[in-house]
């Protein structure tokens, strides 16, 4: 279907009895607090998730700034060691469990996924609502654990430290347990939606790659999160009734805890990055007006990553005292997972070849993603190599590596996706120039903050250090100043979006000329039931012409 007929559709009056002769969009369809609290509309839930995630991103970011500020000098700067330990735990736990994991799937995914499928909603709208409120419950529990008693275990909760330290560890662990269920519900919902609610004509290989990415993510969410749940339950039991599974003083095995934890948490790394990759494919296609190069390879690489992610967790444990045999096997398997990630990046770059490349804000974030994720991925090779990892394990090299992947990857894609779908979500256009400036500030600030940490790590600066050797101070200062700059960029970026809500011009149905159903067949913002008629899938997933 061409763009003009789609536009005609969107504007077409279906004879519904409404003041303007047009159906109200999903934001106006009903009013009042209750219409949001009890909504089963995936779009409203997506918006609520985005609001919650943005809030916690801000909180987690503040914690990060405090941590970075403390590290300005090699001894005490603004807080004592125990406070510092609590702040880096807060930063890690909030960013992982409350921000990155739900950001793209539950936030953007909830909004976009049914639209891209031409569906009226996700398969289980009530479950979707439940998922959001479970998330909120978990968030409240996490915040109260942080405020009452505090948690100083790091987000990894390693035993026996976590099973013996004081503070509200049980509450925090229970919060993460609850958040896990939110994640599982979202994943289940998306798998069923993609399986059963595809529009006529949309075969698996005609789906936009965003859906492939989210689908793969959902598989990991469903398969891995229950193991996290049981791990956390065992940890709580270890603290409460001292079962003796993880605490060596009771006959348990602390390294076994790490197996349990990473069996979830390594796949969880892909729960975090796969949705970022999913957004990337759609953005690159839209801003080059080209079909994604190697569509099938990109699609299958998502699935491959999802499956292989389950068999590489031991690379977090090369020096943990696990058997040398495990280390060998896990190191080998780790290299395998690098291939599909690499394939994706190569294909995105190849997509730009002979395209029509424009540089709106989402594309700037997409290019940042390619740059930063490449660094994050390549530095992973150092860490996957057994002997090199012995030196680099638990140093700032690892910190820098996963920030390049998690923030340089997922958060960049998340911001890109947020800008990309912002007109669709809110019906407003943001101010392009400020968006671009913010994106460039974020890029510069990010590299300043984290590239320095590769130097620090390779020189032997251990992570989670409150005091450190004087040699490292200059680089730490640079990193901290970078963090301030990065924070300013992020604030400007969010500010641009908020500003557009107040002052932005009305967005057209398809400002980017993109080809997926949410752009071609709905208004901005969409009506409550998304489509007037169930749309037919286009002939190709990204049906651009020359």
């Amino acid at each position: 279907m061409t763009e003009t007929t789609a536009a005609a559709h969107v504007g077409h009056d279906h004879g519904h009895d409404h003041a303007h002769g047009e159906e109200p969009n999903y934001l106006q369809a009903s009013h009042g607090l209750k219409s949001w609290i009890f909504t089963v509309d995936h779009k409203r839930l997506g918006v609520m998730y985005l609001a919650a995630v943005s809030f916690f991103f801000f909180v987690g970011g503040l914690a990060a700034l405090l941590v970075r500020t403390e590290l300005l000098t090699h001894t005490k700067t603004i807080m004592d060691a125990d406070t510092y330990n609590r702040f880096f735990t807060v930063h890690g736990a909030i960013m992982v469990f409350l921000v990155i994991i739900p950001s793209v799937p539950a936030g953007l995914g909830n909004f976009v996924l049914p639209l891209q499928l031409g569906a009226k909603d996700v398969a289980f709208p009530k479950l979707n609502l439940l998922s959001f409120w479970v998330y909120c419950t978990g968030a409240v529990m996490a915040v109260s654990a942080i405020l009452i008693g505090g948690v100083d275990t790091g987000w990894t909760f390693y035993t026996p430290y976590s099973s013996t330290t004081s503070g509200s560890v049980v509450m925090m662990v229970a919060a993460v347990f609850v958040l896990g269920f939110s994640s599982i519900f979202t994943g289940m919902n998306f798998i069923v939606t993609i399986h059963k609610l595809r529009p006529p004509g949309m075969t698996w290989f005609k789906m936009p790659l965003f859906l492939w990415g989210i689908y793969s993510t959902s598989i990991i969410q469903v398969m891995a999160t229950p193991v996290l749940a049981i791990t956390l339950l065992l940890l709580i039991m270890e603290r409460v009734i001292k079962v003796g599974i993880f605490d060596p003083a009771l006959g348990g095995d602390p390294v076994l805890f790490q197996h349990f934890f990473w069996f979830y948490s390594h796949p969880a790394v892909y729960i975090m990055i796969l949705p970022g990759m999913a957004v990337m494919s759609d953005m690159i296609a839209a801003f080059t007006k080209k079909r994604v190069f190697g569509y099938r390879f990109v699609a299958f690489s998502s699935l491959a990553i999802a499956v292989i992610s389950f068999i590489v967790w031991g690379h977090h444990m090369f020096v943990s005292g696990q058997s040398e045999l495990s280390s060998m096997v896990f190191s080998f398997l780790t290299f395998l997972v690098a291939i599909p990630s690499g394939v994706k990046v190569f294909n995105w770059i190849a997509t730009m070849y002979q395209g029509s490349v424009s540089f709106e804000t989402p594309m700037l974030y997409a290019l940042s993603f390619l740059f930063l994720f490449s660094i994050g991925g390549l530095t992973g090779i150092f860490l996957g190599t057994l002997s090199v990892d012995v030196h680099l394990h638990d140093t700032y090299f690892v910190v820098a590596h996963f920030h390049y992947v998690m923030m340089g990857g997922t958060i960049m894609a998340f911001f890109g996706g947020l800008y990309y779908w912002w007109p669709k979500i809110t019906g407003k256009m943001y101010f392009e120039r400020t968006g671009q400036i913010a994106a460039i500030m974020v890029f510069i600030g990010f590299n300043l903050t984290f590239f320095t940490q590769f130097f620090l790590g390779s020189r032997g600066m251990p992570r989670r250090y409150y005091n450190y050797l004087a040699e490292f101070e200059d680089l730490h200062k640079l990193s901290t100043f970078g963090a301030y700059f990065l924070f300013a960029g992020l604030l400007l970026s969010l500010g641009t979006l908020v500003h557009s809500l107040l002052k932005g011009p009305k967005a057209p149905a398809n400002p980017w000329g993109a080809k997926t159903l949410e752009w071609t067949h709905t208004a901005s913002p969409p009506i409550e039931h998304n489509f007037h008629e169930t749309p037919h899938a286009p002939a190709a997933p990204y049906d651009y012409d020359t």
Binding site: H14, F263, S323, S326
Partner: protein, 185 residues
Amino acid sequence: MSNHEVSHDYPQPFLGLTPRAVEAPHAHVLPKAVYFGVLGALLFLTVVTVATAQLDLGVFNLPLAMLIAGTKATLVASIFMHLYWDHKFNLLLFVSSLLFLSIFVVLSMLDTEGRGMVDHQRENFLPRDEVVEKAPDGVMHPGQPFGATAWDANHEAFEAKHPEGHDGGHAAPAGGHAAPAAAHH
């Protein structure tokens, strides 16, 4: 699924996507005899597994019990849960959950069973009462097991309440009830 009607009855009731009454699809119904037959088989296998557990088959006791349990599980899943007639994707999900579980177990055991392969000193973690004996010498005493004394106190309090022999045939062999050794050295 093309071209069906879309209702425009705004506003929607909260939490409600009002269903429409349509023609019901045909259900797949099994004869009752199949269900009772499966129950019979399950009960029989239960008797078998209890009976074989009374025999001493050495290392084969566990695999045999697991084989029988697996057969029972297959019966329940394929007939009671209709997996045999269901969409193959549901079967795939069920099987892949078992697959991921076995990956979890096997790769974890690759560690726990493989420790000490290249250097016996790096072998598996030691049970609490053996730590002291296996220490290379007198210097590397293990630390006090966490809360071990409280553990002892618990035992003592319990023994005071229940004089020896309270639990019939389950009394420990002499000396077998070793308190954590480190506390008493």
